[in-house]
């Protein structure tokens, strides 16, 4: 094959114990990666669908990302991507990159039939030990979800991940890890709907590298049957662990309007003791600081913001260089003609006090916060805009060195929002941003059609395309759909 560069490629053992390392040759063809517009300096945007799936038209929404701390060129990502071999297959796929995100392949290692519902992941502990929280499929025909923790000691081995502590009736597992200790520590925020007293916001904590988990309820105030779906842990390097959640105080089931508190809890000792998350108290002497009280959240499990559903968006990040500096973003309805508005606030004292809104973004959703080592904060989000008479989903990354008193922004994608898709969420109930050395890396999902102006920073397609169309293996045009995109952007200097 002309133009092929052959490189040795190390694969781990495929028979488990007694590792035998095999070396095989893998064709690496950088010349076949299609770049539609030259990338802006240092910015990389990659459509993660591999070349061998060029004909796929799945709605690969709600992406997430994990970066291996000991080797940041190695990453794993997830989305609602089904097993290409069929929905009855016993495993679902995740994405893997070994070159810092320039290329991605799909590996079928998640024990869930054909695909998953919610899935997030993170590395912790020994090299390449991957943890995931999933809602596995199939769902029961008339009842609760199937929630499970997964672990794989070496994700490069490509064997199915091991299931730990499955239990029913939980929602939106969200993984955060403390990878620099051994054994690794894993925190999974989850809305445990099996709880009878309505205090459903929960953080499952593993202090032994994912072998066992302790269940910690973090809601202490009365709710109207439950908390909101999103529970977001954030781990500091100084032993603190935080979690944010939306405490549902009143839910009008007829209108779908929720009155909620935006709450942050803290544990100063890695949640090693029980009861955990009691270190931060509010004026009512109860655990959990109310960053914002009695906000109005429209719970709409249908198209509401364009074709996207709304009602659970929330993100929390801690400064790796200052464990007391926190950033939070959530979505609610202000009532100024907005459908959904993101708010961003900052704390400099471990959550004891919070700023007023540093930013508000109207008709936006899926904020994802991260903080780089130099203290620059990143904020990724998607906004529905009308541009040239056409509705578009605009994916934006903002960076700020002063807690979002000011910020710079770049547009990663500006894509047509009128592409019909069968499922919800449309792009995702959340997306992901991580700070890695001198880069912000993240994932978002968007309309994949190659169009002029759709990806202002440039885009690299692995799948086949022409200048204006996706193509299958025979060169026939393929209908556009939602794809997951990886990006990396240099961290701004202070």
């Amino acid at each position: 094959m002309k133009g092929v560069i052959w490189r040795p490629h190390i694969l781990g053992s495929l028979i488990g114990a007694g590792a035998i390392v095999g070396i095989v040759l893998v064709a690496a063809e950088p010349t076949k990666i299609r770049v539609h517009t030259p990338p802006a300096a240092g910015v990389v945007v990659v459509d993660m669908i591999p070349k061998t799936l060029s004909s796929e038209t799945n709605q690969d929404s709600e992406p997430f990302l994990a970066v291996l701390p000991s080797d940041p060129s190695f990453m794993v990502a997830s989305a609602f991507t089904p097993n290409p071999a069929g929905s009855s297959r016993p495993t679902a796929p995740i994405f893997r990159s070994k070159d810092g995100g320039k290329t991605w392949d799909l590996i079928t290692v998640v024990p869930s039939e054909g695909s998953t519902a919610d899935i997030t992941e993170g590395f912790s502990g020994p090299a390449r030990q991957l943890h995931a929280g999933i809602l596995s499929l199939p769902m029961s025909s008339n009842g609760p979800t199937n929630y499970a923790h997964l672990v794989e000691d070496d994700i490069n081995v490509l064997s199915p991940m091991v299931i730990r502590m499955p239990r029913p009736d939980a929602d939106q597992p969200y993984v955060a890890t403390r990878p620099d200790v051994h054994p690794g520590i894993v925190y999974v925020g989850v809305n445990d709907l099996s709880v009878v007293d309505g205090k459903t916001a929960t953080v499952d904590v593993s202090l032994d590298g994912g072998m066992t988990y302790a269940v910690h309820r973090i809601e202490v105030r009365a709710t109207d049957l439950q908390d909101g779906p999103s529970i977001r842990p954030a781990v500091s390097n100084d032993g603190k662990v935080y979690a944010a959640f939306l405490g549902w105080r009143h839910f009008d089931r007829r209108t779908g309007i929720v009155k909620a508190d935006v709450v942050v809890v803290r544990d100063d000792n890695q949640a090693r003791t029980s009861p955990a998350f009691q270190s931060l108290k509010d004026t009512d002497q109860k655990a959990g600081k109310r960053v914002a009280a009695n906000v109005t959240i429209p719970w709409v499990n249908d198209a509401a913001l364009g074709q996207e559903r709304i009602g659970s968006t929330l993100s929390l990040a801690v400064d790796p260089g200052d464990g007391k500096k926190l950033y939070i973003a959530w979505g609610d309805r202000v009532g100024n003609g907005d459908i959904y508005t993101i708010h961003v606030r900052v704390s400099n004292d471990a959550g004891e006090t919070w700023s007023a809104d540093r930013k508000t973004m109207k008709n936006s959703t899926a904020p994802a916060l991260a903080v780089a080592k130099n203290g620059v904060a990143g904020l990724l989000y998607q906004r529905l805009e009308t541009i040239g008479g056409r509705q578009k989903w605009v994916t934006i990354l903002e960076q700020s060195h002063d807690g979002f008193l000011s910020s710079s922004s770049i547009t990663l994608a500006s894509v047509a929002a009128d592409l019909p898709q069968p499922n919800l969420p449309y792009n995702g109930d959340y997306e992901c941003l991580i700070a890695v050395d001198g880069e912000f890396r993240g994932v978002f999902s968007a309309n994949n059609k190659p169009e002029s102006g759709a990806f202002p920073q440039g885009v690299i397609y692995q799948r086949r395309t022409s200048a204006t169309s996706l193509l299958d293996d025979s060169g026939t045009p393929v209908a556009p759909s939602i794809d997951p995109f990886f990006f990396s952007v240099p961290v701004a200097t202070n």
């Binding site: 061998t52 796929e56 659970s312």
Partner: protein, 265 residues
Amino acid sequence: MRCSSQIVFLSILLSVALLSAGAAAAQPAESAADVIAVGKLEKPSVKTLAGAPCVLRVSSVRKKPSSIALKEGDLMMLVGERAQKCSATGEVRVTGAVLSLGEQVTLQSVEIQPLPVPEATAAPLVTTEGPSMATLSKRLQAAELVVQGRVITVRTPSATAAGGPRRKVSEHDPQWKEAVVQVLETVKGSPHQTVVVRFPGSRDIAYRDVPKFRVGQTSTLLLSKENVVGPLIEAPGEKVFVAPTKTDVLPAAVARQLKQMLGNS
């Protein structure tokens, strides 16, 4: 090339026909395989796949999932746990399950058979968008009732039937609907004039592959109470079932062949 609905329908009929014939033409490993391809091994060696994955240069593809790009001239990686050797120097027939997809396809659980193996020279490429024979057989066994029927109404179940009015919510709520089906022909199970099929009306991703129903639809339905947690509340005089997988809703024309097959077993 995308698999058309016509190809899906034909692949289902082919599966049923082969199932009816006792599936003698297809070995269990091949019917379960995601990919069947013919080609030559690059750099054959005496090592087993467990020791060193090997690479196949594809000369023809016999079976593959419709969404996967794989054609003559492509390279495919083969890995396996068994003592399968990568030593054949001539053309081989390879079967396996998809493990990973990148610039190329990687198969696991691979079996390599040196040719000559009886090959239908004009055998059509089978793109697997419809159910495999193994899946169809399994669903048929699991079904309590198999009917050909027409959906006459789609309704929202009563609050009682749906489990009560005041419940916790999540984005994965099924938003139950019921399809009232007029039974045209009973293939398996007790005859009914009508049956009710409860299905998730939700567009949530968790139900992406769970069939939904519309008025006027005529299908062959494999019905069960499978994977139901707790009681499936039924109104008086009604029989309520679920059809939770794609294989449980088949073209109407398949009913007669399923009936013949069940009559033969």
